[in-house]
Amino acid sequence: MSILSFRDVSLRYPPRPGSRAAGNDRLVLDGINLQVASNELVAIIGRSGSGKTSLLNLAAGFIAPTSGTIAVDGVPIPGPGADRAVVFQDDALYPWLDARDNVAFPLKLKGMPRATRQARAQQLLELVGLGDAGDHHVWELSGGMRQRVGIARALAAEPRFLLLDEPLGALDALTRTRMQEFLLRIQARSGAGAVLITHSIDEALILASRVLVLSPHPGRLTAEIEAGFSAEILAGAATEKVKASPLFKRLHDGLTSLIHSLPNEEAAA
């Protein structure tokens, strides 16, 4: 098992070009300490602009922290790598490749021969319920299908951690609910840890074993909730039943009022 860890991480973006005022560079994340094991799904919720994407970009290695360290198993990450595969909000699939070749993309990078990687990609497509869609252009797929291709592509890299930036944000409510259960099972089967960014408290509670709240200006992890609902659902409980339980409601209400009590972006701007 691996551990992805943030230690005293802070992130400061340079000042907006044009604003001359001294000290105007923006501290977006401050004192972030976080550990994610490669067998759990941790959800991070917070208001728009609280720094969720920034935090995920740090974990992915797309940007470097201003201070502090991000490490996997104690080894500071050198930059982006296939051990931390990202699923983007707007899928970021390659339109010049069909669905199967998109999934096979990480395998191609590893130099796997074409026939082998196509077969493996087909398996992954079947895993995400898209066994028939391999030959489709990505623009022929619906939003939910594209997200599943994106997840299959990330899984093909055999990452130790999946970094999911609001992967279900663009889906309609019904598709989203289905995709949540799907995501839960996939993550459990893949043996990869996951960091899930979401706006939805429901989603966080259903999917995550731990829910972290990121408060804005600067972004700090202010609350942590242990949620056992994902284990119940994986064990066979109906999602609707779980959502109807008093404990779920209490946690939901608690998180809702907590988030509403936090300053929002407009107030701070």
Binding site: A60, G61, F62, G79, P80, G81, A82, R84, A85, V86, F88, D90, A92, Y94, P95, W96, F105, P106, K108, L109, K110, H137, V138, W139, R153, A154, A156, A157, L163
Partner: protein, 295 residues
């Protein structure tokens, strides 16, 4: 005063409502228009264009039939058609029309291959590296605004009067648009596409080959289409000046003997080939990058 300021947003709301109402009524308002369209359908642009061409040819035959203009200056359309037929069958200045066209196409495609082989790597260098940009930008910016015929004499001095000089000049005329479209394509590659590749394990070279290059193909193809147009005009002009075959040379020779019907037939052939090249380039774009319109 306070009443007035309070009323303003209200009145604006009323305006918005009125606009909304107007929009809601639009379908009803549209109906008479569609009815009108059913009776008096607007004339398709293609029809108007065809009529224009027919009118020009009509005026042209009228002018030459009435003897308004001397046939030396303006032969009749019939004469031009006959000249075209003769060009195909017997030819002019030692070659048939197809041989002249073939010579020209050989040059333009030779130049296209050369400029693609040089232009795409150069464009990648400009788009991906500061060093490449620093070195190549001034060269491209120097070359781009130059009329190719301005450096044709120099190229002839350097590489001789043969095919090489013409291909070189045309390639130089094509290069800037290929280089610039490649670097524009590289610079417009989506950040997320690159980041996705990095997080899936791609190194810098793999990102270039697997992400940056494919995502630049639509832009590169557009550059090639523009380059073909620029190359074709340059080619004909270069052949007017220095060649012993080719469609431009054919026109130039015919003009020297005042064989105006061949000149006009040649001009029409040049235009038709230009249109054909454009068409082929667009076909290629649709075939190779059907995804370009779905990004």
């Amino acid at each position: 005063m306070t009443l007035f300021t309070e009323l303003r947003p209200l009145s604006r709301l009323a305006e918005a409502d009125a606009a909304e109402d107007a929009r809601n009524e639009a379908p009803a308002g549209v109906r008479p228009a569609t009815e009108a369209a059913a009776t008096a359908r607007p004339v398709p642009i293609a029809v108007i264009s065809t009529l224009t061409i027919a009118a020009i040819i009509g005026l042209w035959s009228l002018a030459s039939a009435r003897g308004v203009v001397s046939p030396v200056f303006l032969p009749s359309p019939r004469q031009v058609v006959i000249a075209g037929y003769n060009l195909i069958v017997t030819g002019f200045v030692d070659a048939t029309l197809f041989e002249h066209v073939g010579a020209s196409l050989y040059r333009i495609f030779g130049a296209l291959i050369a400029s693609v082989l040089i232009g795409i790597p150069a464009g990648l260098a400009i788009g991906t590296s500061r060093l490449g940009r620093g070195i190549l930008d001034p060269i491209v910016e120097f070359l781009r605004p130059l009329p190719p015929l301005a450096y044709l004499p120099l190229v002839i001095i350097w590489v001789g009067i043969g095919e090489a000089s013409k291909i070189t000049v045309i390639a130089l005329a094509m290069l800037p648009s290929i280089i610039l479209s490649t670097s524009a394509g590289v610079r417009s590659v989506s950040r997320e596409h690159v980041n996705a590749a990095r997080s899936l394990g791609a190194g810098p070279r793999q990102i270039l080959a697997q992400v940056v290059l494919p995502s630049s193909v639509p832009s590169i193809l557009t550059g090639i289409r523009i380059a073909l147009g620029a190359g074709w005009t340059t080619l004909v002009a270069a052949e007017l000046v220095a060649a012993t075959s080719g469609i431009g040379f054919m026109i130039q020779s015919a003009a020297q003997f005042l064989v105006t019907d061949i000149v006009i037939a040649g001009i029409i052939v040049i235009a038709l080939i230009a249109i054909l090249l454009e068409f082929l380039a667009r076909l290629l774009e649709r075939r190779l990058v059907p995804w370009a319109s779905h990004r």
